[in-house]
């Protein structure tokens, strides 16, 4: 039995969401509507019980500074601690890696002509830990292992959308050639529209964001051809993070179906977007989400 990719999850990773979760503000008037949009997913994840998440994110001047700027880096370590981003590390569990799968993926990706940077030791910042909090809540230990996949979206140029999508395709091939029975999800994080700098800060584009969400569903691959300049003009300078969602989408294969979708403005400077996708290429996966409800009821 080989490892298989069973789902894709997209989510914003605004640091303030980590603060809200850590200080129990997640059901207040401001954050309540944001977190409520993840309730479905938290129940679904309990039923899905993924073994490993390939978590695509970007480091925000935490593990990497300007000394070394890897375009695509894969974490092959045993475990990762929460980074101190200037106000102390988040009080969340350590993130457990899956070195066997990660090293296998690194080798497979390099043979597939994606020249990955291999990271054995690093701390992980809100880009990685906020999505874990959104999807799993506040457990004593994270319920699955994580293969961190860090993408440079800070120093220009970041990788093209097309390259990100192709990396996703190669990730699928890498995971499916790993000879162990593993339930693997791929998460793409960051976005949606936001600009954190300059007189144009605060830009939000609800219409464009929702068009992007629509484009991730079904069998079209037109999103891979959006040039960087369009993200910048339409969704703000930090909206470029959405190219990381295309890595997740590329890993879903030709066709996807959406199980859950959520969009909310604002969270601090940012539009929150969240999508749960199933690969829909004859894998025989449950498409209704009703397996979730049954599993939760049975517990």
């Amino acid at each position: 039995m080989m490892a298989r990719i069973t789902a894709g999850v997209a989510s914003s990773h605004v640091p303030l969401l980590g603060v809200a979760s850590d200080f129990n503000k997640d059901r207040d008037e401001y954050f309540g509507p944001i977190f409520a949009g993840y309730d479905w997913t938290r129940a679904w994840e309990q039923a899905e019980k993924p073994d490993v998440i390939v978590l695509v994110y970007n480091d925000h001047a935490s593990a990497f500074d300007m000394k070394i700027i890897p375009t695509f880096a894969i974490g092959c370590g045993e475990r990762y601690k929460s980074a101190d981003e200037g106000w102390g590390p988040r009080a969340v569990p350590d993130v457990e890696g899956h070195p066997d799968l990660a090293w296998h993926m690194a080798q497979s990706l390099i043979l597939d002509e994606f020249d990955m940077t291999i990271i054995n030791e690093m701390d992980v910042d809100h880009g990685l830990t906020v999505p874990l909090s959104m999807m799993f809540g506040k457990p004593d230990a994270w319920p699955c292992k994580v293969v961190p996949l860090a993408v440079n979206v800070v120093t220009y140029p970041p990788p093209s959308g097309n390259r990100c999508w192709a990396l996703g395709e190669a990730i699928r091939k890498a995971v499916e050639s790993f000879p162990e029975d593993l339930n693997v999800q791929v998460w793409g994080t960051g976005g949606m529209s936001h600009q954190l700098q300059g007189p144009r800060a605060g830009l939000i584009n609800r219409e464009w964001d929702n068009m992007f969400l629509d484009g991730l569903i079904g069998d079209s691959d037109h999103l891979r051809r959006i040039p960087h300049i369009e993200y910048l003009r339409e969704t703000g300078s930090e909206g470029i993070e959405m190219v990381m969602w295309l890595i997740m989408r590329g890993a879903m294969g030709k066709k996807t179906r959406a199980l859950h979708r959520h969009y909310h403005v604002p969270c601090s400077n940012t539009a929150i977007g969240h999508l749960v996708l199933r690969p829909d290429n004859g894998e025989g996966l449950d498409m209704s989400g009703s397996d979730t409800v049954r599993a939760i009821a049975a517990e």
């Binding site: 500074d65 000394k67 981003e85 200037g86 220009y156 140029p157 097309n162 007189p199 144009r200 464009w208």
Partner: protein, 151 residues
């Protein structure tokens, strides 16, 4: 939506487009080089000892770094738009926001010419519209203002 074959992306056109967005300093290689030491200085503030030394004497701490006088002045004044012009990147500068103990969004608001309450209000009302702030060239062609982002 524009779609292009990225294989046909010309580097010079690409970089010219990056400079065509009003009120935005895209962190291109040119800015990354110009701001290298400023960003590494900001990064050093992730360590508590360095934060304490910086707070005790900002000028003395900055003198340990090969910063230009303009960069030092911009940092001392917390003039973040000026910092961006001198090669700063907001993710690095955010180490200074947290050293100052101010929320990220408040620091961001100082770059917009709005007060923090005004900025928050704009965000609560759906944020800044992209209308009229997509392109300096397009604004100029339509006779509109080019926005202070054009330099």
């Amino acid at each position: 939506m524009i779609t292009e074959d990225p294989k046909h992306q010309d580097i010079h056109e690409y970089l010219a487009e990056m400079e065509d967005i009003p009120g935005t300093r895209v962190f291109t290689a040119k800015r990354a080089r110009q701001g290298y030491h400023m960003n590494q200085f900001a990064m050093s503030l992730m360590k508590a000892d360095n934060r304490a030394r910086f707070k005790a004497d900002e000028r003395a701490y900055m003198d340990e770094w090969p910063l230009t006088q303009a960069q030092k002045d911009a940092l001392l004044a917390r003039d973040y738009n000026r910092c961006l012009d001198l090669g700063g990147n907001v993710y690095f500068l955010s180490k200074l926001f947290s050293t100052d103990g101010i929320p990220f969004a408040e620091a961001v608001s100082t770059m917009t010419g709005m007060s923090f309450p005004e900025y928050r209000e704009m965000m609560m009302n759906g944020g800044r519209s992209p209308e009229g702030v997509r392109s300096i060239r397009a604004n100029a062609a339509s006779g509109g203002e080019t926005n202070e982002g054009s330099r």
